[in-house]
Every structure is written in C-alpha cells, then in structure tokens.
Amino acid sequence: MQSIDIAKLRKLDPHIVCIGSHRGIIQSILDFDHMAGKARPSIVAIVATGRKRERYFFGPGEVSLPVYTTIHDIPDADTLKLNLFLNLSSGRRVLKSSLEAMENLPALIGGVIFAEGLPERHAIELYAESKKHNIWIIGGASVGLIIPGVFKLGAIGGVQAGQLEQSKLFTPGSVAVVSTSGGMVNEFIRAVATTGHALSFSLAIGGERYPMLTPEEAFLAAERDKATTAIAYFGELGGTDEYILADLLSSGRVTKPVVAYIAGAVAEVFDTPPQFGHAKAMAATVDESARAKMRALSTAGAHTAEKFGQFIKLMRDLPDKTDEVRPKTSAAGLDRRRPALIASSISADRNGNMTVLGEDLLELAENNSFAHIVVSMFLGYETKSVELEKFVDFVLRLLVDHGPYVSGSVNTIIAARAGKDLVSSLASGLLTIGPRFGGAINGAAAIWLEGVAGEHTPASLVEELAAKRKYILGIGHKMYRVDLPDPRVAKLLEFTAKLKVKKYTDFAKGVEALTVRKKGNLILNVDGAIACVLLDLLSEKEGFTTDQLQTLVDTEFFNAFFVLARSVGFMAHYFDQVRLDEGIFRLTAAQVADLSNQA
C-alpha cells in the first residue's frame, strides 16, 4: 500500500467514483464541495445498478450524476481522471468491486471502504493487492477521510450541511483526528471545533479486525504532514495496535503531541465480555484491555485520560488555535431544499427567454436548418457535423410518404373518413408504426451494430440469423432487384463517399452481397441504408462509442426520423380525405374471409 501523503492530497483535484450509491452520503459530499467553493462536484461517476442517472443538489440548484452498471462503462475520458474511490457496496461485494477499481483506473491513488462485514480473508487479500497497485485503502467499516476545504470522502463529518459548518470543515487547521470508530471520529471532529481548533485532516480507521490502513500508518501520515501539529486518537479494547503506537512515540518516530482515549474499561464488569460495537472490540487477553493499552500509551508520552470528560479538557489544551474560515456558501436554507419534480436538458425558460439546448430559441431558429435542430434535439446536444445535418435533411424529405397503400396511411384515412379530427387521425397512423411497419430502420441499425461490435463477418451474421430463422431487417424489396437497383438507396449511400472508415455501411453491403446470391431481390433497402449511414456518421463525425450507439438503438432513435417525416404524409392524407369526403369506410361480407366454421 502506498503510504498516504496528506500534504499531496491537499493539492489534489479530487475526481471520485462511488461504487454503490448512498443518497445521504453522496449528497453530503456535494454539499461539502459547493460550500468549499468548487465549481463542480468532486463525484464524477456512480457505479450501481438501477437508473442511468441520479439527481442531487449542488448548492441550491440541482445536478444529475451519471450512474454506470460496471466500472468498464465509464467513458474513457472520465476513467482517466478518477483518482479516488468511495466503496459504498455491501461487505460481500467489496473485494471484487475494489479490485476492479484498482485494475481499471490508472490515476487512482486511494479509496475508502464503508461497508461493515468485509470477510477477513477478503480484507487481507485486498490489502495485499492494494500494495501491488500502490494504492492506499481506508476501511472496511470506515466513514472515510476528510481534509478541510479540499475533499470529503465518505460520511465523515456528517451528512447535513449544517453539521459541516458547525464542525468547521472549511478551515484548514492543525489537529489530526484518527479514530477506530466512525461515530467517535465525528464526536472528536466536533470537539476539535468547539475547543477553538481546526482539523488538519481526519480519518476513521474502521472497527474491523484487519483495517487496511492501520493506526500506525495514520500516525506516520500525521507526523509527515507539516500542517499537523497534534494528533487526537480514539481507540478501543481488543487488538494490539496501541502497543505499536506507543512504540512509535517512545522510539521518536512520532514526535508530535498525542492525546488519546481508549474505550472499553467497562468490559471488566462482564464475566464473559460481550462483543462490543465493532468486530475488533473484544479483549481476548489482559493485554488487549482498554486500561493496559491506555497505560502503554501514557508511558510512551501520550496524554491520556481515564475519563472521557477529562479527555475533552486535554483537547482544549492543545496548541495552535485556529481562526475559522467560513465556507464559501452558507448551509442556511439547504436543509429546506426540495427536489424539482422533473428535470430537462432540452429547453428552459431563463429569465423570460426561451432557450433550446442552451441557445436562445429565436437565434437558433434564424441560424439553423430544421434538420440540424431536429438531430441536435434528438441527441440532446448541438451537433457539429454538416454531413449529418445534410443526411438528416435528405432522409426527412425522402420519408415523407410512400403511398396511401401502407398500413399507417390506411389507418389515417379510415380514421379521417370516420369523421375524426386531425390529431386523432394522425395518432391512428402513428400508432401503427412498429415491428412490421416503419420500424425496420431501428431493427436494421441493431443488426449492423451487432455485426460490427460483435466482430462478426457478414457471413457469420447471416448464418446466425438464418439458424434462428430471423429476417434480416434492412434487406429485401418487393420490386427492386440486384439488376434493377433502388435509386433511393444509391442516393443515400452517396453520403458516405467522404467517410474514412464507414464500417457499418461496408458491413451492410457485405451482407447484401451474400443475400442477393440467394435471391435477386434481397438487396439493401432504404431502411437498411438509412440505418448504416446514420451509424457511420454518428460514429465518425460525432464520436459515438459502441455503447452510446447501443443506447440509441435501445431507445428507437433510428425510427424517430421516420415518425417525424411520415407525420407529414399522414396529415396530408387526412386533409386530402376531408376534402374528398368519401364517407365512412366499411368492408362488405365478400371482403372478409369467413373462417368461423373451420374446426
């Protein structure tokens, strides 16, 4: 394990990944960050199951933090910046998830394990791995590490904004607080503040039998840290760490004044001492008793007290009182915050100005094409690529209508003839769009993406789909054939002419080359062509990763252009029907095959 360097941590720009989610703790870290005057939350990513994002307050406003299922899903740019982890998952999952963090985050320097109940064998294994990776780990069962004004890694110091202020956690001070207990570390932090001092740093060792960062290492860190001029230590009965601390003092390896309190004298009352609050808190031998350990520390030069009340007086007498540094923003009112009912990143009313994607609506409308606005709003940010804009513009025009024969148009026409209004008739047509009508663009995109990302060859994918007896969406046409090509497809594919890689289009054409050999009309159709060209443009011109493209497929993004464009056609059919006024549509008996007597 890398020894923890507090002075260096004070200069760190913290980028934290939380493994597991805990609302109160995460919120308290964001409150700390805002009160410390940071421009952005120190938490960059959460790894947890469930939702894709979680909303938290950042000061009086709100931010949305990204949630990833695994550490591998974090975008590379963020992965490279993450330097601290806070493991909030349950004890049994700590080993695996912490190892993953150490193996995959190149900038990582340390982390905290919050869970109680990490199996001993896992703790020892994790300790050995952390040494190999040159990373310090505090815990398990630790409420964390705090450096005033710099970062708060865990519940330490409290979860209410008011608590942070009362404990003067924005004032760089000189007393290091080290405690085996999470509750007592906070009690000590508060005592430091109320006796006129401030913290240089504080950490909770955790009450487990084998804490990864030992009290010894915490003392040595305090000794190395120039800003620290005194150490306050809380220990408990059980274990022999305090003898090592006594040795540090008597051998002169720690020279700074130490005040210490060791709890657990009460164990003498019990015939068989109970397991006190923490896993370690069980004195197996006389040497592990609170009194014996307190005596050893006292003999080595630490200031100790038999009673806790006297101990607080010792803290009062520590040198170097510190003037308080107020937080940059006040905690007042923060406890009364209420989350907004919904969140939106598309548009907003800002001081009476309507903005879309952060830009004034009127300016956006004046300076941009409809296609640019459409694709930007669908993707949730302003796109850069002119090629994408031009392609979307062409697609929107190309897809406006495909005759009154197709299902959606027929339904619109029937609704219109039944006397329904514009929106009902349009909705009737739109509700027809699905797996068999109009939905093939997204289905084709799913196949091209799977083919390329899954490292298939066109042949292996065709074989796999054939084995599953599935159609290849995006392939096949009623009228056009390989020797009578669809002119629209040729036009669509022209948009890839200047692309460097166009791997999706190449893959789709590779599939077509195989299928036309089976049957001449199994050509790449309009749906398949739109899908592969869009994938290539998004990947090459907008930098979409495979995972991001998969998310688009999962949300039917590729059908959205069809829905939008074809709405034009459906409404046209509605107006047309009203003008023609044909009367209600009805089938005759001869137009319905009667199968009711068939067994």
């Binding site: 805990h22 109160g24 703790i25 308290s28 004890g91 049994r92 109680e116 109940g117 990490l118 199996p119 001993e120 064998r121 020892i124 409420v143 519940a155 330490i156 110091g157 409290g158 979860v159 209410q160 608590q163 405690s179 085996t180 207990s181 999470g182 509750g183 007592m184 906070n186 009690e187 932090i189 508060r190 109320t194 009450g207 487990e208 039998r209 084998y210 809380f234 408990e236 009965l237 309190y261 709890a263 657990g264 009460v266 003498e268 009352v269 019990f270 068989t272 109970p274 397991q275 006190f276 609050g277 923490h278 896993a279 808190a281 609170a290 038999e306 009673k307 806790f308 009340g309 607080i312």
Partner: protein, 394 residues
C-alpha cells in the same frame, strides 16, 4: 459478530472430509426427539458424551463423560440438558495414551496464517509452553510441521485448503492423535468468519454457530432483528437487577458511555450493554427500544435510570430513530412512571434539533424527564447527571 465458534460436530465433519476420513459422531439437540438417535447406536460400543456449545474448559467443568456404555447415554444427556445445555455430541470412545496427544492450531493474521504446534498436547497444553512452536504457514514450512507431528506429507496443504475454503479465522485441534501418519481429531474447535456465509457453499451455516451464553428472550429478539436489518444491533444483559440501563448508538460512543458508568462506580449496577447504528428505521429502533424497556422493567432494583446516548452521528437520522424510541416508551409510560424511572438523553447528528425537541416534549409530558442534551454536552457527561439522580433517590 465476525468471528464465531461453530459446533464441534460441524468442525470435525469439515476436518474429516478434508482428509477423506469418515466421521461417525452423532449430534443431539436436546429439544428434539433425540431418543431415536440413541436407539440407532450400537449397544456394544463405548462412547464419549460432551456438551457441544462452544463452552471452554469442558473437562474441568464436568461437561464431558468418557467411556460410557450405551445404557448410560440417556441419563448423561438428561443431566447436561438439566444444566441448561441444548447441544450434545456423542462419539465412539477410543483409547489412547496421554503422551500421544499433540496440539495444532492455525490462526488468520494480517501477516498470514500462523501455525502453532506441540507434541505435548491435551488439557494441560498451556503448562508446556516451552514445547510450543509457531511459524507462518508457507508451503516451505509445511514439512517441518508434518514431521514434528508425524503427519503424512501434504497433510498441511489439505488442512490449509480446508482453512481457506471454509473462511476459518481460527482452528484448534487439541488433542490431536496421529496414527500411521493419519490424524485423529479428538477435540476440534473452529471459529469461522461469520460474514463469509455467501462464500462457503453451506459447508457451515448459521445453524452451526455456537454461543456458550444462555440468552434472555430480549437478547434473542435483538439477535433476530440484527440478522434481518441493514443496520446493526447488539444487546447483552449485564446485571439483570441493575439500576442503570443503556440505549446507546454507535460502536465507539456506546463504549465511552458504558465506560463512564463504570468510572462513576456503577459498573456492577449496569443492567445491559448494547448499541444500534447504521441508520436503522423507525420500526427497527422501536423494536430495539422495546427490548431494553422490557429488561429494565424486569429489574428488581428500586432505583432505575435509562440513559439514551450517542455521539454526533454521521448519517443516522436522529429525528427518525428518536421517533421509534418515543413510540416504544409510550407503550410502557405508566409502568415506567410507577417505577419512578427517569430518562437521560445525549444525542446529536442529522436532524437532531427536531428529534431532541420531540423526545423532550414527550418525556416532560409523561413526567419521565431526567435531562435532554445535544452536542453542547460532552458525550460522557450525561452519565454523572443520571448517577446523581440515583444517588438523590437513595
């Protein structure tokens, strides 16, 4: 509850299967229809009968019967059951000479697995400390242990594998008798890491855990509560007729407060130790408080106080937990008043102002108020206030 003893029966099963040896011990639960189990045993063999409940020093306490006939088994079990013990182990009695008894233990430490062994084992192993050798378990050190104890080569690797696979924390075989290189486990005690249940494929389960203490119904309820909650709960009776009862929060703070009771000279008057932490919800805190109240009301002491205390919580919601406390106190308010019990409170943390105000209003209204304070009072200083009220009533 990280390191827990498992039964001797389960321990020997695990050890024997590690060496591919049969194990024929019979495990008796005195609360079941155990007579059938005895009827199934051979009438001609000789047996050992012993309490299997994690009790230390069984020989010296008279909880082991050696060389018993089949006809004596029933009376032996009844005798142990009458003493309050529930779990009994019956094994075939095997003769061996005391000087063949060795000792072997393995303990998990941060540095690695520490092996201790001696060829002078048995109940007086401690008086032969000079014969005890110890070393960190490494493949290279195994042959020397095996040779010293007369075990076949690869015995230590089998034992180490069983130790690791079963997430043992401590293993002690004493006496160990070795015949032709094959171990016999005359007595074996294993402590496992209770947190490792998900990783041992039911080689041992919670039902194998043995605790020598005989528990009160209140302690059993809290054990159950702890096993079904994300939060942590502990309760241990000290003096059932004590005068100071504790409702404490936080692993460390709870010891500080209990210490202060002891420092004030009221250690023998302590009715219980316990703590809750990890942000329990209202209902859990209610249930826990009910158990402390139940113990307190049963105490025959004429003067009683309840101390509700904890440090400055990091993330436990004080408003919610104290709400559970108030609801529990309200169910017994008349009984508490009749016994002149006063309540002393020191607690802080998230939403403490509201939580403490509610509790104070309740105590005041019900005439149970001793003192209520937040972080302005030093954690331990609530104890002298409670003790002073006891002294005033004496």
């Amino acid at each position: 509850m990280p390191r827990v003893k498992i039964s001797e029966f389960r321990s020997k099963n695990i050890l024997c299967s590690a060496f591919g040896l049969p194990y024929t011990g019979v495990h008796i639960d005195a609360t079941t229809d155990w007579q059938k189990q005895i009827a199934g045993l051979s009438k001609t063999k000789r047996y050992v009968v012993k309490v299997d409940q994690g009790v230390k020093g069984r020989f010296k306490k008279g909880l082991v019967f050696l060389d018993r006939k089949h006809s004596q088994l029933k009376a032996d079990i009844l005798a142990l059951s009458k003493k309050g013990y529930r779990f009994v182990l019956i094994e075939e009695f095997k003769h061996h000479t005391p000087d063949s008894e060795s000792y072997l233990s393995i303990e998990r430490t941060r540095a690695g697995n520490m092996v201790m062994f001696s060829t002078s084992g048995g109940i007086n192993v401690e008086s032969n400390a000079a014969a005890m050798k110890s070393s960190l378990m490494k493949p290279s050190s195994a042959p020397s242990v095996e040779q010293a104890l007369g075990l076949k080569a690869d015995s230590m690797s089998k034992l180490t594998a069983a130790f690791e696979d079963n997430y043992m924390a401590f293993l002690e075989i004493n006496p160990l008798v070795v015949t032709d290189g094959v171990p016999q486990f005359l007595d074996a005690a294993i402590e496992v890491d209770s947190e490792a249940g998900p990783f041992v494929k039911e080689a041992w389960t919670v039902s194998d855990f043995r605790d020598p203490a005989i528990k009160t119904p209140e302690e059993l309820v809290v054990e159950e509560l702890a096993s079904t909650s994300q939060a942590s709960f502990r309760l241990k009776v000290a003096n059932p007729n004590g005068s100071v009862f504790l409702l404490l929060s936080g692993g460390g703070a709870s010891i500080v407060v209990a210490d202060e009771v002891y420092n004030q000279g009221y250690g023998r008057e302590l009715g219980n130790y316990g703590e809750y932490s990890g942000n329990p919800d209202e209902a859990e805190t209610y249930l826990y408080t009910m158990q402390v109240i139940s113990l307190m009301l049963k105490s025959k002491s004429s003067q009683k106080v309840l101390i509700i205390a904890g440090g400055v919580a990091n993330f436990t919601d004080i408003r919610v937990t104290l709400q559970g406390v108030v609801r529990a106190l309200a169910t017994s308010k008349a009984a508490l008043r009749r016994q002149h019990i006063k309540v002393f409170v020191r607690r802080a943390g998230p939403f403490d102002v509201e939580g403490l105000a509610n509790l104070r209003a309740f105590l005041d209204r019900e005439k149970l108020l001793g003192y209520v304070a937040g972080s302005e009072l030093v954690l331990s200083e609530i104890v002298p206030k409670a003790v002073a009220s006891l002294k005033a009533g004496e």
